[in-house]
């Protein structure tokens, strides 16, 4: 039999389910089913169809759950393991739930569960879901502690919402001013494999599978007007070496510092979604970058020194169309010309022939591009590659995707004696007029080449632009629509959306809102905080921030404490009430659970005598004096003597409990 009123229990199940729901799609299937069974079972128990399972069932299911979790993750060194453990215990508690205290415990645990939501999703939608869950949790706590059956309808929810709204100003103040501390420790999330995105090597077919995804890659706000879509080449990483038939980053020699001033400088802010690889896209020649744990690679792309698990923000400055006047060193030249022997012999021969026929490097480049333009087809459905994949593509199928063109072009260039490398990244992006930003999704992934031209430096050559100019001019959506290749999956759905008019507009608005959320809320880190606060106090230093905030926090705490103790608005307790409270606080938990505000001293004494007769006996003198003074108006019992007996009672009780424990 449960000792809690049924409406309160229903509130509890509802809020618990709401707190579990965001994890539903992530947690292992068996656990999802297990949680569902336990919740359904408890619901049946509340309705009186089944009874509390025996202790052994609860213990057995907990051990079973632990075992399965261990099997699932293999090691406790991932956050998911601990989160799922928490969620499992949070649910399994229902198997032994009897008293009000159990319900309160589960609900307090909900606050921890709420925190785990943000480990996996920091979006605005998630925040709304989590906060509504917390309001439900508070409503449950109110319902549990309300003794009246009459007030269990919508009343707790109303009260909880009201309390929540009252807390919102405090939430805003704490959000803005509380010091952002970096975590003391981290456990890696296992989700790296689940994130779609570029990998750090290029095998033919990689990008092709990537463009099926409509997952968001990053969003960019430009300080000035954004460049045209065809000029947006988001360099993410540079592949310089060939290994096992694919292009990899490798370890090319360190280039001499680039001199050469870029013709045009552009400032932008990039908000990156979680990435598989620790590289952050940037435009053309990256000049500077500000953000958490980033560094500039000498090859001209941005590396992150930590795993990109969350949305991260970067302030960037790039030079467009830079000109490098520096020579390649010998080592560099050798590295960028290196080709593995005996693979793709036809392509190597083609390159060699090209070098003989055309003297000028430009002519060699143009010749290959012209060949591509005449004889090749851009397709999303290039078919499987066989044997020497580049030879197969160049001389048999001649149907390919950007990766085929970039890889084969770079190969031929090297064979023809021109230093060349493959660049992986994204091309283009969709402009969102509601939020005035450019949004790049995974289907914008692209590969192109860079060749070294003496006197000019690394020149970007995108062979795809010659084969399928619409891909570059109008973006992936337009090219996909007119292409024979089959685009399937979510990316296709996404492009279909565009024809839906107002629905698409609505989606744009929502995306803009979500972008704003990412920029303003999720990315409100130490740097942002400082930037914001310095607009108010220009002299503020980062070092001042923590002590200042700490001082403000302590001050606030002090004010609240003083307010509680000395507020003129607070109802002062009478001397009698203080005695009464003091006495009630002497009772141990078991007895105190059974008495309410309406229980007089005599009733408390009765309950106490039933649970702890020895302890209750100690209180007799206090009870006598208290009743004499309060109810018999015996003025000979002076207040100080009552206070004294209460004190003696407390000391003797403490001593009794202490010695008993031993």
């Amino acid at each position: 039999m449960m000792m809690v009123q049924r409406p309160a229990l229903l509130w509890m199940l509802a809020s618990q389910s709401l707190m579990l729901a965001p994890h539903g799609s992530r947690m292992p299937l068996w656990m999802l089913i297990g949680c569902f069974v336990i919740v359904a079972f408890t619901l049946a128990r509340i309705q009186g169809h089944v009874r509390l399972p025996s202790k052994w069932v609860a213990v057995a299911s907990v051990f079973l759950g632990w075992g399965l979790l261990w099997r699932e993750y293999g090691s406790p060194m991932v956050v998911e393991f601990w989160v799922d453990l928490l969620l499992f215990m949070y649910t399994a508690k229902l198997l032994e739930l009897v008293s009000k205290r159990d319900v309160a415990q589960v609900m307090l645990l909900s606050f921890f569960v709420a925190m785990t939501h943000f480990l996996f999703d920091e979006s605005m939608l998630q925040t709304i879901v989590t906060f509504s869950g917390l309001v439900m949790v508070m409503a449950t706590l109110i319902a549990v502690h309300s003794s009246s059956t009459q007030t269990l309808g919508r009343q707790p929810l109303k009260l909880a919402s009201f309390a929540f709204l009252q807390a919102v100003p405090l939430l805003v103040i704490l959000f803005v001013f509380f010091p952002r501390l970096s975590p003391f420790w981290t456990i890696p999330l296992e989700k790296g494999t689940a994130v779609t995105g570029l990998s750090d090597r290029l095998m033919l077919g990689d990008i092709h599978s990537l463009v099926q995804s409509d997952a968001l890659a990053f969003r960019v706000n430009f300080a000035a007007a954004p460049p045209a879509s065809r000029d947006l080449y988001w360099r993410t990483l540079v592949l310089s070496e060939i290994s096992e038939g694919g292009w990899v980053v490798g370890s090319p020699p360190r280039p001499k510092t680039a001199i050469g001033t870029p013709a045009e400088v552009i400032d932008y802010e990039l908000l990156s979604q979680p990435m598989r690889v620790p590289f952050i896209p940037s435009l053309d020649r990256i000049l500077s970058v500000e953000g958490a744990s980033v560094s500039l690679d000498p090859l001209g792309f941005v590396r992150s020194t930590s795993v990109l698990q969350t949305v991260s923000q970067y302030q960037m400055r790039s030079g467009l169309n830079p000109v490098d006047g520096v020579d390649l060193s010998k080592a560099e030249r050798a590295a960028y010309l290196a080709l593995p022997k005996r693979t793709n012999p036809l392509a190597q021969a083609h390159g060699a022939a090209l070098a003989e026929n055309h003297q000028a490097p430009d002519a060699r480049i143009q010749a290959v591009l012209a060949w591509y333009f005449d004889d090749f087809t851009y397709t999303l459905n290039p078919g499987a590659s066989e044997g020497d994949s580049i030879d197969h593509f160049l001389f048999e199928t001649r149907r390919g995707f950007c990766e085929h063109f970039a890889a084969s072009f770079t190969w031929i260039m090297r064979a023809a004696g021109i230093p060349a490398r493959v660049v992986l990244g994204y091309q283009g992006g969709a402009y969102n007029p509601s939020g005035n930003y450019i949004e790049v999704r995974q289907f914008d992934a692209h590969a192109w080449s860079e060749v070294w031209v003496q006197g000019e430096g690394w020149r970007r050559v995108d062979p795809t632009a010659f084969v399928a100019p619409e891909r570059i001019e109008a973006g992936m959506g337009a090219s996909a629509a007119g292409m024979d290749g089959l685009m399937t999956g979510k990316a296709w759905d996404y492009f279909q959306m565009q024809s839906l008019g107002w629905l698409f507009d609505l989606q744009l608005q929502l995306q803009a809102l979500s972008h704003l959320w990412d920029r303003v809320v999720v990315n409100y880190d130490q740097a942002q905080q400082l930037r914001w606060l310095t607009t108010v106090w220009p002299d503020l230093e980062l070092e001042d921030l923590a002590p200042l905030a700490l001082a403000a926090f302590l001050l606030g705490l002090g004010v609240i404490t003083v307010g509680f103790v000395a507020s003129p608005f607070r109802r002062r307790l009478s001397q009698e009430a203080r005695w009464y409270r003091g006495y009630v606080n002497c009772l141990d938990g078991e007895a105190r659970d059974q008495i309410s505000r309406g229980a007089g001293v005599a009733r408390c004494q009765e309950v106490w005598r039933l649970t702890r007769p020895a302890e209750a006996a100690l209180a007799c003198e206090f009870v006598d004096r208290f009743e004499l003074r309060l109810y018999q108006n015996d003025q000979s019992v002076v207040p100080s003597s009552i206070s004294k007996t209460l004190l003696v009672l407390r000391v003797r009780l403490a001593w009794m409990r202490l010695t008993k424990k031993r």
């Binding site: 003794s147 009459q150 009478s574 009698e576 009430a577 009464y580 309406g598 005599a602 109810y631 108006n633």
Partner: protein, 306 residues
């Protein structure tokens, strides 16, 4: 405690088995000088309790069985023209007794009900411009069937207010019922019961009740109960000032029955449901058990000491 009160209680307990609480509440109601309404399904010992009280207290008692056709004059009495004296002579009705047992009061017509209740209020009967005072002490012990039984005229709230307490007898415990079944002939036991005190003694006890001390802490508590009842979500209508006075009087009587000359919060709580259940209007339309439950909830919410 006063030994004769003790013996009265013991006498009552031998007749009404396993109902110590109800018996004490009923006696408290009489000691506080208030009328008593006993409410329950037929056969739970309502009438037996009323009769037993009359016998044990040694009061002169009469019983009226109310039905639809009972007229006001059947209660109060009527004037009859006496030819020999050429004058009207007043024949007092059954109400002229120290304890009137009004059985199934809610089966009578409203007109008859109000005649009785008027007499209860005035402690007198007026007939043809002459006021005949009722004897002292004067108690009405009324019984009524639950409201929803057929053929009943529910008493209006203003008249319910005349009763100090409402009691539910409830079924006896299994042990008590077994004794009841084996011993049998309760009615005879009642008739054989000797009086254990006198009317004068009873009046003396009533004076004792009035002398029971009420400390300011208790007055505060009663005040809190009354005021909070007016704002509580469960009640559509809270307690009236008269309700507060009734609560105080009943608490005093209860304290005396506990052998004390001062009131404690437990006394107030013990009589609260009996005194207040017919004075509060509930928001929900639950059965009686549900209403008692919400009264209990209410008591649990109000601070005993503040």
């Amino acid at each position: 405690m006063n030994e004769s009160i003790q013996s009265v209680l013991e006498g009552l307990d031998t007749i009404i088995l396993g109902k110590q609480r109800e018996v004490r509440l009923a006696l408290a109601s009489l000691l506080a000088g208030g009328h008593l309404l006993i409410e329950d399904v037929p056969g739970t010992g309502k009438t037996t309790l009323a009769l037993a009280l009359g016998r044990v207290l040694g009061l002169q008692h009469k019983r009226v069985q109310f039905t639809v056709d009972v007229l006001p004059s059947d209660i109060t009495g009527s004037s009859i023209y006496r030819q020999s004296e050429q004058a009207f002579e007043f024949h007092p009705g059954p109400i002229f007794s120290q304890i009137l047992l009004a059985d199934e009061i809610n089966r009578a017509m409203p007109k008859t009900q109000s005649a009785l209740l008027e007499a209860m209020e005035e402690n007198a009967v007026s007939q043809d411009g002459i006021t005949y005072p009722l004897p002292s002490p004067f108690f009405v012990i009324a019984t009524q069937n639950p409201m929803h039984h057929s053929g009943t005229y529910p008493l209006p709230e203003s008249q319910l207010d005349r009763f100090l307490m409402t009691l539910q007898m409830g079924y006896p415990s299994a042990d008590a019922e077994l004794v009841l079944l084996t011993s049998g002939a309760t009615r005879q036991k009642v008739l054989d019961q000797p009086a254990l005190c006198t009317a004068e003694q009873l009046l003396g006890w009533q004076a004792d009740v009035r002398a029971v001390k009420v400390a300011s802490a208790i007055a505060d508590y009663v005040l809190r109960l009354v005021r909070e009842s007016r704002g509580d979500a469960s009640f559509e209508m809270g307690l009236s000032p008269r309700g507060g006075l009734a609560l105080m009087a009943a608490s005093r009587a209860w304290a005396l029955l506990q052998g004390r000359d001062f009131v404690t919060p437990e006394d107030v709580q013990a009589v609260f449901a009996a005194v207040c259940q017919h004075r509060l209007r509930f928001r929900s339309t639950e059965d009686r058990a549900g209403l008692l439950h919400s009264i209990n909830d209410f008591l649990n919410q109000v601070d005993v000491v503040a």
